[in-house]
Amino acid sequence: MSDQTDVLQGTLDLLIMRTIALEPMHGWAIAQRIQQISDELLRVQQGSLYPALHRLEHQGWIVADWGASENNRRARFYSLTKAGRKQLDVEVSKWERLSAGVNLVLQRT
């Protein structure tokens, strides 16, 4: 537990969009998936997940629909819009540039 890191400020949007790019998901599953895929390295603050989802929806990158969850209950499933996919590409390349830059600084000093 203690070696989990909170998701970096500003990257949550990117992670959410990347996660639901494969298939529509509800909020809880998104948080779980991020944790699983990162080999439990990353922890999504559950409290900041929903505001982020609503903000992305408000910006038109993602849409939400009610659907049946894996345990057969009503859940809000989020999926990327077309514009959201483009935005994801932009965000990914931005992130790559940033992390490459940060890595270079760390290695060369």
Partner: protein, 895 residues
């Protein structure tokens, strides 16, 4: 797509608020439930699992709030909350709300009156399909002369000879005609008029091609909505009814829809076929195809105005110059195209002139609005001090300053919207009152006045809304900013913070108000003094019982002159060219020693005695001197002084040459023949009138009533109006066209005096009304501000008095509060008035304005400034004496 998602999501968040809240709750609940299940699956007991899930999650309410914020629906929610809050505030202080709404409403209403007029003449296009295709064919206007109009024959030829128009019609519009004591406004059109404009009748039919044949069966007319209302009181069975106009029975065959004005600003009462014009209107009798019409056409789709203009030029050039149609290309103006196309959409053709006419209205009404806004701003400033505690509490509870400013502005905006509604009602009432006042006060001898209460449309409403928004910014922003510039802790203790005392803003507002009232009052006094001066001014010629008669048809001259001579009420008569009030032409006079431009006028021997112009030296023309060719002349005193300085003019010879700068003649006017004349007499200068001044330096040349082109001037006995009617009756037997003679054909000269005093009186009543209103608003503002200040400073005054200040000291203290802003306002106001006058005098119309009103009248300035000062002192003295009467022990004990 993205935009659609955004729009959809926002729409839902705004309008389906409950649903959105439910969704949010369910979504978060699902998450908690799922998390609990997960923990349960790993062996935690249900209760503990639920608790841990909640702990991981954080406060659901806070997350909900963050989600709401993330959606950006806060703005709408906040606004709704602000509006509710504001309405509660109004309910708590209804008098304040009422004062604000009525003050701003009054100002907005007045400005809207001005805009409604402007809208009518400038923006309100007629309801005609594809109106941008409609163009009138016009000949270019030269500086001095109206272009010769086109005739019906031109129209027929144009329709045959060009292909630029889908079709074109001809009309004679704006003919007013008295029927049963009412003046009807009618338009005669070619029968294709309604087909060209493309508007169908609301009831019955429009004119058909057959209606316009010279020998059509029954004469028919099509009513406008206005005519239907005015003449037939909206009788649903009006079709087939008849209207009797000058002996012709006109059958109503149709009624046009409301809002169709026939491409004019004011709709006529009805449209009649053009061929009927000579049956109905006597002055048009016997002119057939040569009757003058305005030609308006619908351009073919896709033809530009330039192309069409070129097409017209080709057509007009192809007209043989000797053709019966007359030359079309405008002679003299080389290179200029013979024809132009003017957009014809039922609005005024000269937007600039409309702006010039309504500009002063906007300015004057705008000043009232400005004063009202200043008053309200002051009131709100005072209230802001009173609300410091409330605002202080909200600030210390964590409200952002911007949030409170927004709330206060919402309040102002809400008030402004209410004021706009009140303003709309006020503008309707004011318009009706204005039109009624004009109609009842209009002197009948000037002519008929056609005035309608202009309708309001969406543009007027839009204008009102924008005006309300701007006013709200003006009266609401400063108080809102001022109110929030406070320190919460100290205000909670009930202290009024020194920085928040809005003294400077208040002084500024009072100054603005005083200067605006000063401008209006100065205008009022200027008009009043000019009206008085005009009423007492001596024009230098006799007007009360003098009647001027224009002879329209030279063929009837002898008979007409005999008829005038035979009328028993006529005591004496003379003739002149141009007429008694007509503008004189100029010539260059040359003597042995001097050369000057003088006016000249042909007058008959009795001219001077009929008009009471005294002969100072020498003699008037003798009875035999009635020919324009005789080499004798009489000069005015000024002309004598200019041409022969220091010498006697009698017996001198002067050479009169054409004035090269003024060689513009009306078509029927004979060219001035240069001549040498001997002066036989000198007469007194004739000052003339403010709106029609006479040249001082003038040479009179002989003529007689028998000479073509002269107008007859008759002195009558008894009631001039009755004599005028008797003359008209007599003259109608010779020329039937005289039956409808207006003041310009047979008129008592006194009308011009009436006209000028009327105009000045209108100006006076208008500005005095507004000036009074401005002053009342300003005084009430000043009064309430000072009263409020006294109330605020009761404790301070009490201390002062306890320490030995006399009542005089206290009075001075309060009065001094108002002296600076009032004084500054007076200076600013009179400066602005003088500046405006200077600006006015710099415009091309300055000479004319200068003759009518004396814009820089020092007495007007002095008087109005005195009135304002006195009124302000009076308004200030009440709170001042109240302050002086304070009992120091009482006020100190109160604390």
């Amino acid at each position: 797509m993205r935009l659609w998602h955004i729009f959809h999501s926002r729409l839902r968040s705004v309008f389906f608020r409950d649903r959105r809240e439910d969704d949010l709750r369910e979504e978060l609940e699902f998450h908690l439930e799922r998390e609990t299940e997960r923990l349960e699956a790993s062996g935690t007991p249900r209760e503990a699992a639920r608790f841990q899930a909640l702990r991981l999650f954080g406060g659901p309410e806070q997350i909900k709030e963050e989600c709401r914020d993330a959606r950006g629906t806060g703005f709408v929610d906040d606004t709704i909350r602000d509006i509710r809050y504001a309405l509660r505030g109004f309910a708590r202080a209804p008098l304040v709300a009422f004062t604000i709404v009525s003050t701003i409403g009054l100002g907005l209403g007045l400005v809207t009156v001005a805009f409604t007029f402007l809208n009518m003449v400038l923006f309100r296009q007629d309801q005609v399909p594809n109106i941008h295709e409609m163009f009138a064919v016009d000949r270019p206007r030269t500086a001095e002369r109206e272009p010769a109009p086109l005739t019906r024959a031109h129209l027929d030829d144009l329709r045959r000879g060009t292909t630029i128009f889908t079709d074109a019609y001809g009309e004679i519009s704006g003919i007013d005609f008295p029927v049963d004591g009412r003046v009807l406004l009618m338009t005669f059109t070619t029968a294709n008029f309604f087909q060209v404009v493309g508007v169908n009748a609301a009831m019955g039919r429009t004119l058909m091609p057959g209606d316009d044949e010279p020998l059509a069966g029954r004469p028919v007319i099509v009513l406008s909505d206005r005519g239907w209302d005015r003449l037939f009181a909206r009788d649903p069975a009006v079709l087939g009814r008849a209207l009797l106009v000058s002996g012709v029975s006109l059958e109503v065959v149709g009624v046009m829809p409301e809002g169709f004005r026939g491409l004019s600003i004011v709709p006529p009462d009805y449209w009649a076929p053009l061929s009927m014009v000579d049956d109905v209107v006597p002055t048009y009798r016997g002119r057939g195809a040569h009757v003058d019409v305005r030609v308006v056409g619908r351009l073919k789709p896709g033809i530009s105005r330039q192309t069409a203009q070129a097409g017209l030029a080709v057509w007009s050039a192809s007209q043989p110059s000797g053709s019966p149609l007359g030359p079309l290309a405008s002679s003299g103006s080389r290179g200029a195209p013979g024809m132009t196309l003017v957009p014809w959409r039922g609005t005024v053709q000269q937007p600039l002139e409309a702006m010039v006419v309504t500009g002063p209205l906007f300015f004057a009404f705008g000043l009232i609005l400005l004063i009202g806004c200043a008053n309200v701003a002051n009131l709100l400033l005072a209230r802001a001090v009173a609300r410091q505690r409330e605002i202080g509490i909200r600030l210390s509870l964590g409200a952002a300053r911007g949030r409170i400013v927004r709330q206060l502005l919402t309040e102002s905006l809400l008030l402004a919207v209410l004021a706009a509604a009140a303003g709309f009602a006020i503008s309707r009432v004011a318009l009706r009152a204005l039109v009624d006042a004009m109609l009842t006060s209009w002197p009948p001898e000037i002519g008929d006045l056609q005035l309608l209460v202009p309708a309001a449309d969406w543009r007027v409403l839009l204008f009102l809304m924008i005006g309300a928004g701007i006013s709200a910014m003006f009266f609401g922003l400063a108080p809102a900013l001022q109110a929030t510039r406070i320190e919460p802790v100290r205000t909670m203790r009930g202290e009024v913070v020194r920085d928040a005392r809005p003294g400077r803003a208040r002084d500024l507002l009072i100054g603005v108000q005083v200067s605006a009232s000063a401008i209006l009052l100065i205008c009022a006094v200027v008009f009043l003094r000019s009206a008085l001066a005009a009423a007492t001014a001596d024009p230098g010629l006799r007007t009360v019982d003098t009647i001027a008669i224009q002879i329209a048809k030279e063929a009837t001259r002898t008979a007409m002159v005999q008829a005038v001579a035979a009328e028993p009420s006529v005591v004496a008569f003379a003739a002149s060219s141009p007429g008694a009030l007509g503008a004189s032409r100029t010539a260059v006079a040359e003597t042995a020693g001097a050369k000057a431009t003088v006016a000249y006028k042909f007058v008959s021997p009795d001219f001077f005695s009929v008009l009471d112009i005294p002969v100072v030296r020498g003699r008037a023309f003798t009875v035999d001197e009635r020919s324009p060719d005789l080499p004798v002349a009489i000069v005015s005193e000024t002309a004598a002084r200019v041409l022969w300085p220091g010498a006697d003019a009698i017996g001198q010879v002067v050479r009169l040459e054409r004035d090269p700068r003024a060689d513009v003649r009306a078509a029927d006017e004979p060219r001035f023949q240069p001549r040498s004349v001997t002066v036989v007499g000198v007469v007194r200068d004739v000052a003339g009138f403010r709106i029609a001044p006479f040249p001082k330096s003038i040479v009179y040349l002989p003529t007689g009533a028998a000479v073509p082109g002269t107008a007859v001037i008759a002195r009558v006995q008894g009631d001039p109006e009755r004599a005028r009617q008797a003359l008209i009756k007599r003259l109608t037997t010779i020329d039937p066209g005289m039956e409808q003679a207006g003041s310009e054909q047979v008129g008592v000269l006194g009308w011009i005096v009436r006209m000028e005093t009327y105009l000045l009186k209108v100006g006076f009543w208008f500005t005095i009304g507004l000036g009074g209103l401005a002053l009342v608003l300003t005084l009430s503002g000043l009064f309430s501000v000072l009263s409020y200040l006294v109330e605020q400073r009761t404790r301070e005054i009490g201390v002062r008095m306890a320490l030995g200040a006399t009542t005089a000291d206290v009075t001075r203290l309060v009065l001094s509060q108002s002296i600076r802003p009032v004084g500054a306002g007076l200076l600013l106001g009179s400066g602005a008035a003088a500046g405006l006058s200077a600006l006015l005098l710099a415009t091309p119309g300055a000479e004319f304005i200068g003759q009518i009103v004396h814009v820089l009248d020092p007495i007007a300035y002095g008087a109005s400034l005195l009135v304002i000062t006195a009124a302000c002192l009076a308004a200030a003295s009440i709170p001042a004496t109240r302050a002086a009467r304070l009992d120091p022990t009482l006020t100190l004990r109160q604390e």
